[in-house]
């Protein structure tokens, strides 16, 4: 940790949050809000004189509220930067009439109340998302009595209790009487592997963390009675099984089954009732203390970052990697990588491994000092452009300029163009060509797929990043759906031109599905808003023409939603079966009359 603070190549911004990221791979610009510390971190020597005089007492977050700190404090002794910080919301404020005790006490004169928040702009080539996890809050599991019974602790609270730097200097005490417990129970999978409350996934670290805690406890007191209530013990990593065996040899009692209820006895001990799966009996234990092995959940910042960076999430709410085996630290967005629990719960070793991998991937991307941009970008046919400016309006990247007064044709900055194709779809004059996904290429695909057994076919447009990936995920999961689906891939659903849909119906398509990323998740910032607007417009036209609107469907399917994809396909098939040959004939007639 101290290496980070000292390293000449690392600019460390604490109390800071990324508020905006723009640009593209190789050339991002990040806006960072650095909140004021009110203490000059370079001058502060962490002598602690200020905190001694501070009159404000608050629960210490680092010790999960098991001890207190002042309004001016250092988070923990080894903090980096090794500097005190003032919580401005708690401080009485720099008003000599009220309090300015810390300023008087500081011999270095490094406390400054006039500091204000700064907005910093940084140009960067790559981004590593390492936002970690939040701990599961077990209050909602009422049967375990957390906060109702003082002697029920979370694993993090226990961790602070056994820590030599913690509130009890490492002495394990029972909260109600502050005496060393004679017996202690651990309940596993609290907030993990549950379909009802918490996460459905395994939090990965809790089994080993509990095993570690049992060893620490036995070191403190070899006679302590320890019971671990579990579903399965997952000791799969290198050296893990050894540790588990050591714990068992020390007579830690592993009981297969999660407690159904916990009652507090008059002497504050806890009565645990559990169905032991090994004996098939309801068993009852009276224990001095209970520790809930709480699971990990996605960091609260995940959703905001996901929208800011155009990333994807799994159904668990952690970040989704580009490929689970071949690109496990890459995001689908080029130039962005994941490290640690942001991607999924993992232990320290795996976090470190993944972090090194992410750094390696970032170096691989950056080492040449230049980057090649995929040529899947749009192009203006100057002779057809009427300078109307619609393309400028719809481009999510501000990559198009046009001078409407001078009537000069639109120009596209190909370095900024990300290739969604929304401009090509929206251009009323057909003056924009989307390279590699041209009108001619896509129309040809439609023609071919509808040339035989037309009435049986289901035409689906799928965007590369979400719904096409969702279809792949359905495949990887072996989810079965009808075989008459034919998918046409576009980079973004924003590329799906109105003319493609009319063309398909004119060719006799019974139904058409347009699918893309969920609103807010679009890989191209917000291009799918235009998809939605376009479809609404087409539905209105269909209504006027007397066509059944439901034959054109819109679905948002993420890369992780294989089940949703398969279900959507089944729904489309039911819909297709409702379309008769006569209806298709009428549609063709109506559309031919118009054009």
């Amino acid at each position: 940790m101290t290496d980070v603070g000292r390293h000449p190549n690392i600019k460390l911004l604490t109390l800071s949050e990324v508020v905006d990221v723009s640009g593209y791979v190789g050339n991002f610009t990040a806006k960072i809000l650095k909140k004021s510390r009110y203490v000059d971190e370079k001058e502060c020597t962490a002598c602690g004189e200020c905190a001694k005089v501070c009159p404000v007492l608050r629960p210490d977050e680092f010790n999960v509220g098991l001890s207190s700190r002042r309004a001016i404090y250092i988070p923990f002794p080894q903090a980096v930067p090794a500097s005190y910080v003032i919580n401005a919301n708690e401080c009485l404020g720099y008003n000599p009439a009220v309090c300015s005790k810390c300023i008087d006490a500081c011999t270095k004169k490094c406390i400054h109340f006039h500091m204000s928040d700064e907005e910093i702009e940084e140009n960067i080539g790559s981004i590593i998302v390492a936002t970690g996890f939040d701990l599961y809050e077990p209050k909602e599991l009422e049967e375990y009595g957390y906060t109702r019974f003082e002697n029920v602790l979370t694993s993090m609270e226990f961790e602070r209790l056994v820590n030599a730097g913690g509130p009890t200097q490492g002495h394990i005490i029972r909260p109600t009487d502050r005496k060393p417990p004679k017996s202690i129970g651990f309940i596993q999978c609290v907030g993990s592997r549950s379909l009802k409350k918490g996460g459905a996934y395994c939090s990965n670290i809790c089994c080993m963390n509990t095993i570690k805690s049992t060893l620490v406890l036995k070191e403190h007191d070899p006679d302590i009675d320890i019971k671990v209530f579990y579903i399965d013990i997952r000791a799969f990593g290198k050296g893990f099984e050894d540790l588990y065996m050591r714990s068992r040899k020390l007579c830690v009692n592993y009981i297969k089954g999660l407690p159904g209820s916990i009652y507090e006895l008059p002497d504050h001990r806890l009565r645990v009732a559990v169905e032991n799966a090994n004996t098939a009996k309801i068993e009852q234990y009276d224990l001095d203390m209970l520790v809930l092995a709480i699971g990990l959940k996605p960091s609260a910042t995940t959703r905001k970052l996901q929208e800011m960076l155009g990333l994807q999430l799994t159904s668990d709410g952690f970040f989704l990697e580009a490929h689970p085996k071949l690109q496990p630290v890459d995001a689908a967005t080029r130039g962005i990588f994941f490290a640690g629990c942001a991607e999924a719960p993992k232990d320290i070793k795996d976090s470190v491994t993944q972090a090194s991998a992410a750094a390696g991937r970032a170096i691989r991307l950056m080492h040449k000092g230049e980057i090649t941009i995929e040529p899947i970008t749009s192009e203006v046919i100057a002779s057809q452009c009427k300078s109307c400016g619609i393309c400028v309006e719809v481009c999510p990247y501000n990559a198009i300029v046009v001078d409407r007064q001078q009537k000069t044709p639109a120009q596209i900055n190909t370095a900024a163009c990300a290739g969604c194709g929304t401009c090509a779809a929206e251009c009323p004059f057909g003056a924009i060509v989307m390279n590699h996904f041209t009108d001619a290429q896509i129309t040809k695909q439609i023609d071919v797929l509808l040339q035989k057994d037309t009435k049986e076919k289901i035409l689906t447009f799928a965007c590369n990043w979400c719904s096409y990936a969702g279809a792949d995920y359905a495949g990887v999961s072996r989810l079965q759906y009808p075989a008459n689906i034919r998918i046409i891939r576009t980079m973004c659903s924003g590329r799906v031109d109105e003319s493609f849909i009319w063309h398909a119906f004119k060719k006799g398509a019974p139904v058409v599905l347009v699918s893309g990323c969920h609103i807010g998740d679009c890989h191209y910032i917000n291009a799918n808003h235009w998809t939605e607007k376009r479809l609404v417009k087409i539905w209105k036209k269909m209504e006027k023409m007397g066509l059944r609107q439901e034959r054109l469907q819109l679905a948002w399917i993420s890369a992780a939603e294989g089940i949703r994809f398969a279900e959507t396909m089944k729904h489309m098939e039911r819909l297709r079966q409702s379309v008769t040959t006569e209806e298709i004939g009428q549609t063709i007639e109506i559309l031919n009359k118009i054009s």
Binding site: K11, F28, G369, Q445
Partner: protein, 213 residues
Amino acid sequence: MIKDQHALKEGTGFKSVSTLPRIGVYVCRCGLNIAQTVNCAKTAQAAQKLNGVVIAKDIGYACSEPGQHEIKSDIEKLGLNRIVIGSCSPRLHELTFRKMLQSVKLNPYLLEMANLREQCSWVHMTDKEGATQKAIDLIEMAVFRSSLLQPLYENTVPLTKRTLIIGGGVAGIQAALDLADNGYEVILVEKKPSIGGNMAQLDKTFPTMDCSI
């Protein structure tokens, strides 16, 4: 997404493709992943009849070294200028096959893939006939699309050799040090007053039982 060292620029000796499309179609069996559901030989036979197709065959593992070698030697021998590969998802191997084209001086954007595994054989396992018909259709769509493909050339732009790391826990710290020790500038952003994250709160850590900080 060509990320390797051979940047693809205009006028760097790629074969001219102004002549009529000469398409090679390869239906990958992917061991049994595709072949156990889709009749790959039949699919290739159907493709052989299509306009512009010079050669169509089924192949064991298109992505493997022998598979790629076979396709490359066909490109050279038969003067193919469009390649259609029916195999796994393009999200998996499009880059592999683009590189393959590039290695025999064919513009990599003259490749078209048909997704016969994730979006066909794996999702229609009980409907072999339907899956084969779908494979035939998907290949045909890809063949006709491929004949309209144009060579494309990449743009090179300068890049900023700096990395933003969001989060100063154990992962962020490790990534920052690895990058910084390799000479890259790092901006490490942490929302709390100190780095260390959840790890700093731990006492001993498994499996070695040493301190976290």
